[in-house]
Symmetry: C2
Subunit: 334 residues, 2 copies
Amino acid sequence: MTIYDISEKAGVSIATVSRVLNGSRKVSEKTRRKVLDIIDRYGYTPNAFARGLGLNTMKTIGIMCADSSDLYLAKGIYYVEEKLRENGYDSILCCTGYELEARAAAMNLLITKKVDGIIMVGSNFIYEKDSDNQYIANAAAQLPVMLLNGELNAANVYSVVSDDYTSMYDATLQMMQSGIKDIVYFYNSTSYSGMRKLAGYRAAMLTQTDSTEGLEQFYRGSHEDIHAMTRYLKDLQETGLQFHGIIAADDTLALAAVKYAREMNYRIPEDFSILGYNNSMLVNCCEPELTSIDNKLETLCQHLITILLGLLEGKEMPNRTVFPGEIIKRGTTR
Amino acid sequence: MTIYDISEKAGVSIATVSRVLNGSRKVSEKTRRKVLDIIDRYGYTPNAFARGLGLNTMKTIGIMCADSSDLYLAKGIYYVEEKLRENGYDSILCCTGYELEARAAAMNLLITKKVDGIIMVGSNFIYEKDSDNQYIANAAAQLPVMLLNGELNAANVYSVVSDDYTSMYDATLQMMQSGIKDIVYFYNSTSYSGMRKLAGYRAAMLTQTDSTEGLEQFYRGSHEDIHAMTRYLKDLQETGLQFHGIIAADDTLALAAVKYAREMNYRIPEDFSILGYNNSMLVNCCEPELTSIDNKLETLCQHLITILLGLLEGKEMPNRTVFPGEIIKRGTTR
DNA sequence: GTGAAAGCGCTAACAG
DNA sequence: CTGTTAGCGCTTTCAC
């Protein structure tokens, strides 16, 4: 069933059918009815390829993320996809993993598919080495690239981020003011956002101590293996390091910290404080519940889509949008 | 940059360019080199629309799921997407929510996009009323439809499922044999798979008791709100119902059950046993850790993709593939 | 208002 | 081996 069949059955030209399909007003009400009727009767749907060929757009956005099963990224994908579809765009999802090569390949694939824009979900896409981000800048020469929680200084690349630095700075300060000086920073990502968080922690610490040496702990294992994370902390404790607080770069790490503290028989939060990040569903999963930083993911996504849609309409849009986070106080901090 | 530009610069016809693009062996090594060289130099990539128009396929599979941020579904999407890409297929993701209408719309959208097949991730797609599944059967008339953890008796619809009934039957029996007779079944979904699990629980219970009345508890609230789930159980307890075990239809519900038991100051598992389902990362998040049923999601996904690829190659494939689950024993059961 | 016709970029017969 | 050519289904001028 093509536009030709319809035009024939309706006794009009394919141009007319095309017009009613695209809601042109230059069609008499009568003709429109007739065509619509036929279309309905035969259950015809236009061929997206043919349309795409002519228009060179498929109203489709590419979404890249490292791992769709990551709690936080999954939520991001969900919001982004939802808001795109509300606006008549579809999305092609590419889970790229954490390897640069696979990422560049995925990017190419999306470009080949003629997506109208690309959304990179998660700060882990931005590496410290500029050359590792080059493929993003290159892609941006062809279509707008949106970074959710990442920043890259390049033309046609747009960032929407949470102010991780300030959130961590404030949270660390609060914990110190509650009387804890020996706070370990527990992290597992050196992504852009990861480094911003670390910097916030460090800056706050340095207002009161000379050095954070030994307190910044980088965990390399699986992002989901809570046992391994807990073990890491135990090993750390056994090296003789003293610490009575842990600020974690995400809720999973924080949960492991809670587990660790319980196994050590510390009272939380009296003897030991813990702070998480993301305010995910995990915060309710432990005892006591986790104080965590809410980085307003849905708001970020909403704005990201607004900006992207603006760009696609040819409007000027802000390069960089920053939202403040919020500390959600629960049982693991005083 | 089109195939014409390349053919011109390489001094060959577009057909030849097309041939090297598609790896036809009927091209002399010399010509191939020359063309490849030009392609490389100008960074040309073929237009997927034009190709799709001719071939009427885009090597793209539609993935439907209710909510990509659901822990379990997200994992399913991850595996499916990964394995598709390994086999040269892309995926368009549609998060449909739980409303029938939105689902039918998403299905149409995917068909319009000329996907080569559709994968429906999650048992929640299959309703009890046959008429509510009609849109799936209709779609299957045009392209293969794969159901991950759902079953539908219709032509060109293929199911890959975990044997939820048997898993639940066995687990329930085990808990009863450990001495607990008053086991509540705690669930929040009446999907196909949800009903199978319930049936397994019920059948096992009825081997030892007369009725499960009052013990089958359906929770209607948010799928993520652990507090609400815990409250539900408290309210249940306050009605006077006696129960010393909870079998939950997923790990989130089970986690809420652990929380409930702790708040009631029950000793787990001595006084109170709990079983979860999915063996997700949540099992490590509570104290003690959760015994849970592993339904081998990755295996299911792997087979699902194998079957789909077979179908796309025109092979005969099994309609229904069932895998056994496995009870992973941890601290919440004796 | 409506129709005719020229592409959009690629694949696959077919002919050489 | 290589080139010519006819579509694939739709949008969009440009006439009428």
